[in-house]
């Protein structure tokens, strides 16, 4: 089977956590895939691709986002682009250089190649969640972050990446569909992310309390991205992707302690976290960044205020629903964590 328009799908970021599962879901669904890799990346580093490479259902193209010629070749014969690649660490400038500057080259090359669908895998980080009241609903109706520079470098770069994609859609006709996954988890990608808590000076600080987590299991998320690539008539639309039956932070931590490791933790209530963030921001400004403002009240509001999340539009328009139930998905992820750590995994 090929995609709806008769060609291969191109997947960027194909060797990443989500990218590998994306390629697998496409191949399992009968599609032909071209994985875009950085120059020098050996496809043999992904052993599960060997059979598909041999059969020709999976192709590999090496291209740098800074090389328009390589991108042109990589896009030859491609009708649908699934753009997953993004920088996840490093300074804000480095992430913008990789994620935004690189993406612009891909937008231009895709237009030149006449692709019929460009799916940008964005992030919940671009949503202006700070401005949504406690208990409010996060969905496609919430405007994009107005002050992305007040969030973390990743959210800032993803915001600029998506904003630029919309500019290309409006002004140049890029056939854009945006998917904004929540926190993607699964084997190989820890469920114990910052929305639940973080380690500091040997302590696990539980920051999430009773907040609902906007989780999406990696295979479910990959399914939604496939649909965004092939369902007709959805250009110019945005889809928030979270699974059903979302757990709270406390519920996931409880299961982690029961099924992986009985870690000790210190609960930090929202009001205390917000006060501490205020002190962090004040101290950083007062001392000319002697300590960086890792926490600010603005960031705390976006992450831990306590929101609700909707996947109604994705289910209705993408004809998608999470195939792996949340309870099972968490179990799979926790078993993988336990197996990788011999039951001694620290969060």
């Amino acid at each position: 089977m090929t995609d709806a328009t008769g060609g291969r799908l191109l997947v960027t970021g194909a060797t990443g956590f989500l990218g590998r599962r994306q390629v697998r879901r496409l191949l399992d669904g009968g599609w032909s895939v071209r994985a875009l890799l950085r120059p020098g990346t050996d496809p043999a580093s992904v052993p599960e691709w060997a059979e598909d490479l041999a059969s020709g259902r999976l192709e590999v193209a090496h291209a740098s986002f800074s090389d328009a010629g390589q991108l042109r070749s990589a896009l030859d014969g491609i009708r649908v682009v699934l753009h997953l690649a993004a920088s996840k660490s490093g300074s804000a400038a480095a992430q913008v250089a990789n994620t935004v500057v690189g993406s612009e080259q891909l937008y231009q090359a895709s237009l030149a190649a006449g692709t019929s669908r460009f799916v940008l895998v964005s992030s919940f980080g671009v949503i202006g969640a700070s401005q949504v009241a406690r208990g409010g609903l996060i969905d496609e109706q919430v405007p994009m972050e107005a002050q992305a520079e007040r969030r973390d470098p990743y959210s800032f770069a993803k915001h600029r990446q998506e904003a630029l994609a919309w500019k290309y859609h409006r002004e140049r006709g890029l056939p854009l569909v945006v998917v904004r996954p929540g926190a993607v988890f699964g084997p190989g990608g820890s469920i114990m992310g910052p929305r639940i808590g973080l380690r500091l000076f040997g302590l696990f600080l539980h920051l999430g309390g009773g907040c609902t987590l906007p989780l999406t299991y990696v295979d479910n998320c990959a399914d939604a991205i496939v649909q965004a690539g092939v369902v007709p008539g959805i250009e110019g639309e945005t889809f928030c992707v979270v699974d059903d039956d979302l757990p709270t932070s406390r519920q996931v931590l409880r299961r982690y302690r029961r099924e992986v490791a009985p870690i000790g933790f210190v609960p930090v209530p929202f009001f205390a976290l917000r006060q501490l963030a205020g002190v962090n921001e004040w101290y950083s400004a007062k001392t000319s960044n002697h300590l960086p403002a890792v926490f600010t009240p603005y960031k705390v509001d976006a992450m831990w205020k306590g929101h609700r999340y909707s996947n109604a539009k994705a289910k209705a328009r993408l004809q998608w629903s999470p195939r792996i139930p949340m309870d099972d998905a968490i179990g799979i992820a926790l078993r993988a964590l336990a197996a990788s750590s011999g039951g001694r995994h620290g969060a």
């Binding site: 300074s91 480095a94 250089a97 612009e104 600029r160």
Partner: protein, 359 residues
């Protein structure tokens, strides 16, 4: 002092933050060929002016000094434009790609009557400045030997970005990655080397696994350099394999030895132990312990008083440079020193290539 930044990569943030800590200095504009890079720096760091054309920035923002944080291959062209406009420049390391460019750049500045400061900021970290004070005070005696060692993490943020992109500008430098970093240890040994043309022996090795089969596999990840002057020797080690990753400098004199750790921002002076026999062992260790205690207390106070900023050396160097521009101080690094460093760096890499030494 009106300050502008050209080149909005990740080190521009440090420049903007440190300039803002200097009384009377204001960052008025940023410039980058890529509009997204200029925008991100201006927005995040709240800089009023953003440009993609250097000439326009100079016309409109009219800075007194420009910090050049672009790749080194562009430094000569940018420096030429700044000199022609009578604008002073702080130029990040490496000063230029070649010695010839360094000579031309300094010559242009001198003829234009502007000041250029090479970004050897680690040489102005307080630990190294204290080491130099000890030397100036005669505590070390005559310098016999200097060692500087720099570690590098190829998996760090910059290393990963460079290794992920065969077109990254670092790979275009004659000496590749070590060329981009050797300025740091060179700047630490240079104050103690008075010879204009010391003998240089350099050996490079590649300890990492060949992986890409392109230019990314080409550079040396280990470098050992021996420099011999008439009365002083020096050695420089650049290493990607050694852990912990650190930068330090040890000066051995006729009276004592001192080691400045740029990571610990500490100074340790070794003066020996005059007590006899086994008592010397105790005294030697006791003296080391006393120094460690003093350094610890210094840092505890520094932490409490918010004086342990990461880019302290950059702040100090830029502060002194601005005083020199104002005519209230000497140039912290005289311009000919930038050429001397470029000459030494060129010697290091030409010697390294000449031996063709690889593992």
């Amino acid at each position: 002092m009106k300050v502008a930044i050209v080149g909005c990569g990740q080190f521009a943030d440090a420049h903007i933050q440190e300039v803002r800590r200097i009384p009377g200095a204001t960052v008025v504009a940023v410039c980058d060929l890529n509009p997204h890079m200029a925008e991100q720096a201006a927005t995040r760091l709240q800089v009023p002016g953003r440009y993609t054309d250097l000439s326009n920035m100079l016309d409109e923002a009219r800075p007194d000094v420009v910090h050049v944080t672009t790749p080194p291959a562009s430094h000569l062209a940018i420096g030429r434009m700044l000199a022609a406009r009578g604008v002073h420049a702080y130029i990040e390391k490496p000063f230029t790609s070649t010695l010839a460019e360094a000579e031309e750049l300094v010559d242009l500045a001198m003829r234009a009557g502007v000041l250029l400061c090479v970004g050897h900021s680690y040489a102005f970290d307080s630990a190294f400045l204290r080491l130099r004070e000890q030397h100036a005070a005669g505590a070390l005696g005559d310098v016999v030997d200097v060692q500087a060692s720099m570690g590098y993490n190829l998996a760090g943020p910059f290393g990963a970005a460079m290794m992920g992109d065969p077109t990254h500008w670092v790979h275009q430098l004659p000496g590749g990655l070590p060329h981009n970093n050797i300025s740091h240890p060179v700047s630490l040994v240079m104050p103690f080397l008075v010879d204009e043309h010391p003998a240089v022996v350099s050996r490079g090795m590649r300890l990492r696994r060949e992986r890409y089969h392109d230019i990314r596999d080409a550079f040396f990840d280990e470098l050992r350099v021996t420099i011999a002057g008439a009365r002083t020797t020096a050695s420089i080690r650049f290493t990607c394999a050694a852990r912990p990753v650190q930068l330090f400098c040890t000066v051995t004199g006729s009276a004592a030895q001192a080691t400045a750790s740029l990571d610990g921002r500490s100074l340790h002076l070794t003066t020996g132990a005059p007590l006899p026999g086994p008592f010397a062992r105790v005294q030697w260790t006791y003296r080391a312990h006393q120094q460690t205690r003093r350094e610890l207390w210094r840092h505890v106070k520094g932490l409490a008083q918010a004086r342990l900023h990461f880019f302290e050396g950059l702040h100090e160097l830029v502060s002194r440079f601005y005083l020199a521009i104002d005519g209230r101080g000497e140039m912290p690094i005289p311009m000919p020193e930038a050429v001397r460093a470029a000459r030494l760096i060129e010697q290091i890499f030409s010697a390294c290539q000449a031996t063709g030494a690889t593992s």
